[in-house]
Structures are given as structure tokens and as C-alpha cells.
Symmetry: C2
Subunit: 317 residues, 2 copies
Amino acid sequence: MSLGEFELIRKISRFIKWGNSIELGIGDDTAVVSVKDGKLLLTCDALVEKTHFLTDWRELVEEFFFLLGRKLVTVSVSDVASMGGAPLFSLITLGVNSSFKEEEIDKFYRGVSSALKDYNLSLVGGDTVRSENLFFDLSLVGKTPSDFMLRSGAEPGDIVFVTGTFGDAKGGLDQFLKRKVTDRYLVERFLNPTARLKEGQAALSLGVKCGTDVSDGLVFNLYTISEASEVRIEIDLEKVPLSENLISYCGKERALSFALFGGEDYEVIITAPEEKRGELQKIGFKPIGRVLKGSGVYGNGKLLPKKGYDHLKEEQL
Amino acid sequence: MSLGEFELIRKISRFIKWGNSIELGIGDDTAVVSVKDGKLLLTCDALVEKTHFLTDWRELVEEFFFLLGRKLVTVSVSDVASMGGAPLFSLITLGVNSSFKEEEIDKFYRGVSSALKDYNLSLVGGDTVRSENLFFDLSLVGKTPSDFMLRSGAEPGDIVFVTGTFGDAKGGLDQFLKRKVTDRYLVERFLNPTARLKEGQAALSLGVKCGTDVSDGLVFNLYTISEASEVRIEIDLEKVPLSENLISYCGKERALSFALFGGEDYEVIITAPEEKRGELQKIGFKPIGRVLKGSGVYGNGKLLPKKGYDHLKEEQL
């Protein structure tokens, strides 16, 4: 296909009908719609066989479909988390065929169910269709009382903060692509990430205006902030948080590359004025850089490439 | 797969977390969630390559992807229509690959856009993923001010009413399966059905308690009412509305079979007391039978089989 996802989103935006109550349509982490007692956040995310996972990974990891069920919920909750909202209701469309065994359906829904519980979210319905390739699509309705964080909310002078560590998910995926699981922690970080719901809500309640989550890669998602906010972002590469497991798994240099350009970490990036640093650090945010006038994303002074993350292509870092 | 869709839905229901505000979860046309100023209706429907359509049908019908875009919107709106509600917002997940050309994406979204306009509905966001098989999944948020129609609302003594004509969609599909389009009207009824939004809302405003839409076949969907309401339903086969086009296309006997067991008509079935007959007929509902104590669905006194409709299997009627 000649169109990348982001190009396609722009294309689609032309067809969108905007109503009065729609505050934000396609292009940020979630759509935002005004209702009487606040704002609804609407988002959907799909996991597709041969794009996001291979069915034979079930042979490499016990409870594979349980973890995939958890992941399906988490990736959409992460979108709501990065806006500072809370999830409410979800719908799941299952595209399934006879390769998906009854006990695996059970496992998958147990995973879904356990993540719903973690994030205090309800599954209210869905559709089940036959599909040659498995796919799972979750739509989520969330809410915020009034305000929310946006990619376009960064201001020159802000500090860039992040949750968690980066590159672990790519370290997990890497093991699947090599068909050998040697570090279960990294595999869990890939299949069973954590949506930073509390951190997102806490940041919003501190008055933070700018947030997004890292689904496509740290640098790529910093670019989405840089472009939406029309600012330059500089990060200090030595401050990008890396896990000990990732460094052990692939060495420090490669770990940094995974962290910058690997996707699916589902950590949250925010930008906020210097005076909020103390409070933000208390709730787990770590400073990694700053926002300046200008454009582009820089690491230790060098322009970083805006590389998208393409899930199952092995060597792209 | 050993599980049919309805079995799977039952299975899934076990995993559903019910909150206080959830009035109705999996198992009716939409989920219903209470909010401050009314109720939200939540539903999703997918169209999947090789299950609901084949990509080479684009060679048989001009504007194929335009019509498919319209259909994607219509099938979900139909679920809301059958509850008596109004659609508000939608999200679309696109699973696409290089076989889906840029001009076809345009056509598809023009179709989506024209249907959104018809039903006064907004597309607010979505996800785009790579998928070996094309799929389109639409989630819809609708509302009703307070009440809604349910499959479980039928009472002995009610009359069974329907909108439109039946079997046309199967007559359209039949032409695709034969790879020769001879009756464009029927093809349009298959690819470009009408969601009976006004009729559903009018019925609800007249106090009608029971409604569903016909996605799986008239008899199959009558069974969903019969089972949810614990009643017997009798229909007069000669009263089942058939189009002239369908009768010309395949003869009266086969037309009736298409009407009873073909799916995807997206007409609305309601049941209501005799005294509402006049008003319901004025807004286009036609009586085809009655609700009695007991169980099962009968045509001219004979028990009708509960046959599901399996989209692309040619000879099942």
C-alpha cells in the first residue's frame, strides 16, 4: 500500500462530518465529544494476525492468548490514559476461524476480563465474524470531567517527561521474531504492557496540557507532539529510561535504538513547565528533555529520523 | 470452528463485567448504558473479505467500494434503529493491504460519508492497520431519551409487523455468487440496504416495546424474539412482503425461501398490540403474524427451522 497510516488518517479526515459537539476528531489519541456532564473519549485499536502477532507464537509462550487479550484492552486504555481520562465501556469485534480453538477463546477472554478489572472498565458488547485471519478490534468509550491533554499542548520552555522504560516491547518482539524466548520480562512488556492510567490522570489534575502515549516509538510519538504543537523537542539520550533486562538482552547501544525507534511501549509522554517537575517526579514521571521554539526532534543535538514502527518487520532499527 | 456466533456470544457473556449503569449487555441488538440525560446505545459490526464480500466483486459492480462503505454504516445504524434510537458517533477500524487501491479507499470513504449524512451521524476517529484480508469494523454510539425496544418485549396477543420487503439482499448476493449481475435493484438491496431509523423511532414513540432488525434472516431473527420473550410466533407466509424484482428474478417459491432464510435485509421487526395497528400501518409497518403463548416460530401452522444465514455459502436455502 502506498499510503502510510498517518497519510491515510489525513485522507480520511477530509470525509469527517464535524458536529457541534465534536471537540476533536481524527488525529490525536482519542476523539473527544462533549456531553452534558463532561466529555466522552472515543478510540479503537485492532490486533491483527500476521501484522501484530503470529498464531504460532502460542507455542513459544504459555498463556499467549491470555496475554493478547490483556494487550487488546491495554492499548486502547493507554490512548485514554494519555489524554488524562478514565475508561468506561468497551465493545470487541472478534474475527475468528477454526484455527482459534475453544480453549483459546476462553484464554483470550480471561485475559480481556482481567485487564478490564485492572482498569475498572466494562465490556458491554461486540460482534463475532468469521475471518481467514484472526483479528481483535476493541472500541472504547472513556470520559474526562472537562479538560484533557493533547499532542498540540506543548509550549516552548516545557520539560519533556515520560513514564516507565522504553524499548522493552521491541526486546520482547525481537524474541518472537527469533523464535526463542530467553527473557520473559521483556516478552511480558510486549504482550502485557501497562496503560499509565493513574499517571495520566494525575498529570491532568496537576494542570498538564500536553500528553500522548508511545505506540509507534518514542521518537515517532515525540514527532507527533512536535508537529501538532509546532515546537522543537530536544531529548538527552542518556536520560531515556532503559531497563536492566533490555540492556542485558541486547547491550546498551542496541537497547537505546530499541528505546528510540521500537514501538508498543505504551508509556506516556507529557510536557509541562519546570515548576511542576517536583510533583510530576513524585508520581513517577522522569524528565528526558525540553521543548523549544522551532521544529523537529533532536537527541543530544542531532536531528533524529521520524521512523515509523512496522510491527513484524525484523530488522528496521 | 465448532462455535456458532450465538454460542460464542453466550460464552463471551460469562466474562462480562456488569456495572450499575449498564442496563443491557451482550445479546440484544445494542448494549445500553445509562448516562445523565438518557441512554447510550453501543454496537459494532464488521465486514470481512471472504466472509461478507470478495474483492473481485468490484469487477461485477461499478462503485462497489462506495456501496460497501455505505453498507458498513447502515448495518450498525440498523441495530440502533431496531431499538428505536438515534445514532450519534462512530469509529472505523480499517484493515487494509496493497490490494486496496488509493482510489478505492476514496470510494469507500465517499460511501461511508454519504451514509453518515443520510443518518445524521458523525465519524470521529478510528484505527488503520495492515491486514492480509481486508476488514472494516464500525463502532457506533447512539442514544435514546429513555426507553428502547427489546427482543424480549413481545407479549402474547401482539401483532408482528415488519418494514419493507424480504429476501432481496439474498437475491443480490445470489448474483455475486453466480458472478453475473442481472438485477441491479437486488444488488443494491444487498450492498446498499436502508436502516429503518425513522420507522424504529416512530414505533418507539408509539409505545412499542419489542423490536429487532433482520440481519440473519426473517425466521432466525423471529426466533431471537421468540426466545428472548418466551413466546410462540406465527406468521402467515402469504403476508411476508416480497418485491416484484425478487419474484421476477427467481420465482415466487424461491423468493419466499430467500425471504424467510436469507439474511442482511436490515428491515425491522416489531410486535405491538392490535390497537396500534392503524398508526403503525400509517408509518409503513405491515402485519405478517401474531404472538401467542408457547415457543417456536411457525409459518402457516408449521414449525419453521431456525436456520442461520452463512454469508458466502451458496446453496443453503
